[in-house]
Symmetry: C2
């Protein structure tokens, strides 16, 4: 499962992507419209800023806005930022690699082999899931519904 942090981050990012290039949005507005605890969201948006995805402006008329384009931000990046590795085992991650203590030979481990495949598939799908793509999907689902 992804953490609430990631879920909130994605929701906030989608909101900011929809308002892309329309000036800064208040944390409070996002928190209220998306029903996210405000103080919690503050920390999340700040992290996204430090990651170079968002930018902010202080004082009156301030708020947060997307720095990157909505088609440059994907879910793989967001998940890794808050939850760390996407893979289901530490021995199959690129960035958070850790050897299994129990493992006799990593090279010939069948378990690892399976989880490597799972990771590859998952990362591929999550990389393709940019903010633009998610918004496109929502439009499509809405059209389908009517």
């Amino acid at each position: 499962m992804i953490s609430k942090k990631v879920k909130y981050a994605i929701i906030a990012l989608i909101k900011l992507a929809r308002e892309h290039n329309r000036g800064p949005i208040l944390i409070r507005d996002i928190a209220e419209s998306e029903k996210i605890p405000q103080k919690f969201l503050e920390a999340i948006l700040n992290d996204l800023k430090h990651a170079g995805i968002l930018a902010s402006k202080k004082g009156k008329g301030g708020g947060y806005y997307l720095l990157k384009s909505p088609d440059e931000v994907n879910l793989a990046t967001v998940i890794r930022l808050f939850d760390g590795a996407i893979a289901l085992l530490p021995c199959v991650t690129y960035q958070y690699y850790e050897r299994c203590e129990e493992c006799k030979d990593e090279e010939t481990c069948g378990i690892r082999d399976v989880f490597k495949e799972v990771r590859d598939e998952t990362v591929e799908l999550l990389k393709a899931a940019t903010l633009s793509e998610i918004i496109r999907r929502e439009s499509k689902l809405e059209r389908k519904k009517q």
Copy 2:
């Protein structure tokens, strides 16, 4: 990430699958050869027994053994047994479904749509990963290595 419980469970199951139909194996032997804390492993094997995957025999000459055939036991089942849902969001699980509070309309949620795809792919790969299949892969990787 999967829990240590699942990792230990898989390792123990592979071990038992390799010894399939050769009588009961001691918890202690599995714990030692696979470097798993014995008391922890006891609980895990007991859970696998209650799930109908293993059976046990008490007293001298006792131990655990596979009840199901190695090609009937897959990783999706094992993960669900200990860690619960495989999906990354509660709103895309079959067996552990929970509605997102923040969600305005589940039917048209683009985030959900993406994570549903991820789940489908993951479950498919994990279901195909039976104990037999994992052992087959290990042989293959060993041949490849030489």
